[in-house]
């Protein structure tokens, strides 16, 4: 009896491991959809106007000239989860695929083991074969710092981290390290304004994926500020799916669905999400609520133009999406590398360079684009300062 109990547990444990493997496998292969983003080309035209901080203007000299040829390899390194989220990571993939076509580079992809233990090793392996390594996600910050110091001839770029040493006057961590960040709060301001303009109940909602590490709060702060700018009396409910250090909130559409349903039930008619792969649950909830109640409620997407990436059945409920142009940033840094212009330091992709923005696919915001463009101009001009903390 004891024996069979132990065996059962053993088998269970073994099975759990196998099941975990299958789980991540399917996620890794579901990278369909995000391929054709109609707004890609427009934003790419802006590529030469990106702002760099003063400290960043120094170029790395040693090897950049030799690499200026357009057929080098780029080591694209995702974080755990990798491709297939129909949002952030897939956007990076769009950027590198465009670079493959337009510039002629080749690239190798990698993502860490599920426990996240081998980030540094991956970067090192990529650096062995590539003059430019792009790391997707701020979790790479520490490891890029270390690996870049060991590989002075290889350039590194990290998405979502400034890669500046703020303790010592915000200088770059190294001559070969670039940080590519986005003004998510500015883009969120615009979709917040759109939500307030479109809301009939005077109540809107925000669903964040993971709280407590400072990034998703920027989306919330911008969204709330935008909504309040239109209607100071608007009621905004915010909810996060998980708290740091539990990053499951980015992969939990079921829980996003529950939260969104509750928000719609309590009277909100537009809900914005910044929850990566969980967003699908919000769209489902918008569809279900609309069909059940007969009056249409809306969802707002994030990162990619989710009208294009979401299932056909839920498309008509996506009012707009806050665009975070990871693809632009990835393409730009490869372009710079090819031209021998790799610059260390932080590049902020904000509204002025269309690094963030809102999508118009579906035509649901056509009647308010004038007002949104007005807000956009004011933010760029500095007349409106968007907060980064809620």
């Amino acid at each position: 009896m004891k024996r069979s109990w132990k065996l059962m547990l053993s088998l269970l444990a073994a099975f759990a491991l196998v099941a975990a493997a299958c789980g991540s496998d399917s996620a890794g292969e579901a990278d369909a959809g995000a391929g054709d983003d109609p707004t890609t080309t427009e934003a790419m035209a802006e590529e030469d106007t990106t702002e760099t901080t003063e400290a960043a203007m120094e170029e790395t000299t040693e090897d950049t000239e030799a690499m200026a040829s357009a057929d080098f390899n780029v080591g694209l390194t995702f974080d755990v989860g990798g491709r297939g989220d129909q949002s952030f990571n897939d956007s990076a993939a769009v950027g590198i695929e465009k670079a493959e076509g337009d510039i002629g580079i080749s690239f190798s992809e990698a993502e860490p083991n599920a426990d996240g233990s081998n980030r540094a090793e991956l970067l090192q392996l990529q650096a062995d074969n590539s003059p430019l390594v792009v790391a997707v996600g701020f979790l790479f910050e520490g490891d890029v710092k270390a690996v870049a110091a060991e590989n002075p001839d290889v350039n590194f770029a990290v998405i979502d981290s400034a890669m500046l040493d703020f303790d010592n006057g915000a200088v770059p961590f190294g001559d070969n390290i670039a940080g590519l960040t986005f003004a998510e709060h500015e883009g969120s301001f615009l979709v917040g304004a759109a939500a307030a303009l479109k809301s009939e109940t005077g109540k809107v909602g925000f669903i964040g994926g993971v709280s407590g590490f400072g990034l998703i709060e920027r989306f919330e702060a911008g969204f709330a500020a935008g909504a309040k700018a239109v209607n100071p009396d608007i009621e905004i409910t915010s909810s996060y799916i998980t708290e740091f250090p539990d990053f499951d909130g980015f992969f939990a559409p079921d829980r996003a669905n529950e939260i969104a349903s509750a928000m719609y039930e309590s009277g909100a008619d537009i809900v914005y999400h910044a929850a990566g792969g969980s967003g699908g649950g919000l769209f489902e909830a918008a569809k279900a609520t609309s069909e059940a109640s007969g009056s249409k409620v809306w969802a707002i997407g994030v990162d990619s133009d989710q009208y294009n990436t979401a299932d056909d059945a839920v498309k008509e409920y996506i009012l707009t999406s806050m665009l975070k142009r990871v693809d632009v940033a990835v393409f730009q840094i490869i372009h710079d590398q090819a031209a021998g212009d790799f610059a260390a330091g932080n590049t902020v992709y904000d509204l002025s360079v269309d690094g963030v923005g809102y999508s118009t696919t579906g035509g649901f915001v056509d009647d308010i684009t004038d007002q949104l463009e007005d807000f956009k101009a004011k933010i760029i001009a500095g007349e409106i300062e968007v907060p980064t903390e809620p």
């Binding site: 444990a13 196998v18 190798s108 996240g116 690996v147 703020f166």
Partner: protein, 372 residues
């Protein structure tokens, strides 16, 4: 007829060999089905593993896996299924990172202090599950699984914001205040380089490897050479008989759980003392569960678990090169680990049954011979 010794050896090696062959065949099929060439993949894995730098990576990965395996094995020896190593080591590492950053101590002593804090926290936290078992009869499987969530989703998530090092300039993310250099464990590069070439590319062999070896030796001495260890094993094999024989079973349960947690506390130390020096967002998770796999594969044996940890570390470090060379996707590695584990558990069970039948046969032959 073959000699009994030969038979015993054959039986001892039959299970791992059968498991390996089975896993090899099944993994190859999976690779072919997903459109990869298994020969290329295995070749790439082996070429990579033979590089000095990769070996360092492998040993760095082996260290926490082995410690985690020992932590799980201490419980298993006593028939306690401590699933809580995961929560215990994360909580221990978090506490050690926070407390360790707040004290000023001389070189070396600081490092030992951080390790000590981690062991105490790990021991106390698993002791909680032990206490629940002996006083309230709560099954340790249930309590440790729940305590895992309490530790990671409750305590750490709740306290992290308070101890998060505030960065100026609106930087995203971060971790606890880094430990002072007095708490870093020295690397073993100098020692390795005595025998090999210079280690390049920033690889540092963690000094925790020495601690892992010590843990292994102590585990062996405790289980196989000490009175207490004998009591633990006896209670694990037959609690009733042990109790009749005078072993206080409640104390034994508590002891095994606490010891398991003390060792679990060390699992996060390679990261904390030689890599990140802080509990940050990227802190390596899931090593507690990996330890269960290592203990299962290594049969709770101090030497067997070295092999198991090395094998898992080899597979883990292979995932990078497989992806970058495009020979296979990263998931293949996880699938292989699952297959190996499944194969090993089944093979051990089958060989165990053969052994049992053999023993019964021998025993009955002996009794028949004696009576006749």
């Amino acid at each position: 007829m073959k000699s009994p010794l030969f038979r015993r050896l054959l039986l001892a090696f039959a299970a791992p060999v059968a498991a390996f062959v089975f896993a090899f065949v099944l993994s190859s099929i999976v690779l072919i089905l997903s459109g990869y060439n298994p020969i290329d993949a295995y070749g790439e894995m082996i070429t990579n593993a033979l590089k000095l730098e990769s070996m360092i990576d492998m040993l760095n990965e082996t260290t926490p896996l082995y410690i985690s395996g020992v932590a799980a094995a201490i419980g298993f020896r006593m028939n306690l299924f401590n699933i809580g190593v995961e929560g215990q080591y994360q909580l221990a590492a978090f506490a050690a990172a926070v407390i360790g950053a707040k004290v000023v101590l001389p070189d070396g002593l600081h490092m030992l202090f951080v390790m000590g804090v981690a062991m105490v926290v790990g021991g106390l936290y698993s002791g909680l599950a032990g206490l629940l078992k002996v006083t309230r009869g709560v099954n340790e499987v249930i309590s440790t699984i729940m305590l895992n969530s309490v530790a990671t989703l409750g305590i750490i998530a709740g306290l992290f914001k308070i101890f998060l090092e505030k960065k100026s300039g609106g930087a995203v993310g971060g971790g606890t205040t880094p430990l002072a250099e007095t708490a870093w464990i020295p690397d073993l590069n100098g020692f390795v380089e005595l025998f090999t070439r210079e280690i390049t590319k920033g690889r540092k062999l963690t000094g925790m490897l020495v601690v892992a070896v010590i843990v292994g030796v102590l585990y062996h001495l405790f289980i196989n050479r000490s009175r207490l260890g004998f009591d633990v094993r006896a209670t694990g094999m037959n609690p009733l008989a042990a109790k009749v024989g005078g072993v206080p079973s409640k104390q034994m349960v508590l002891l095994a759980m606490v010891l398991s947690g003390v060792v679990a506390g060390l699992v996060g130390m390679p990261d904390l003392l030689s890599r990140t020096h802080a509990y940050d967002q990227g802190f390596t998770k899931l090593r507690g569960f990996a330890g269960i796999a290592v203990a299962l594969l290594g049969r709770n044996h101090p030497g067997g678990m070295v092999g198991a940890a090395l094998l898992f570390a080899f597979l883990n470090t292979s995932s990078g090169i497989l992806q970058i060379t495009g020979t296979a996707s990263s998931e293949i590695v996880t699938i292989m680990q699952g297959i190996i584990l499944l194969a090993a558990v089944v093979a051990y069970q089958m060989v165990g049954q053969v052994k049992q039948r053999e023993e019964v046969k021998l025993a009955s032959e002996a009794t028949v011979g004696a009576t006749a």
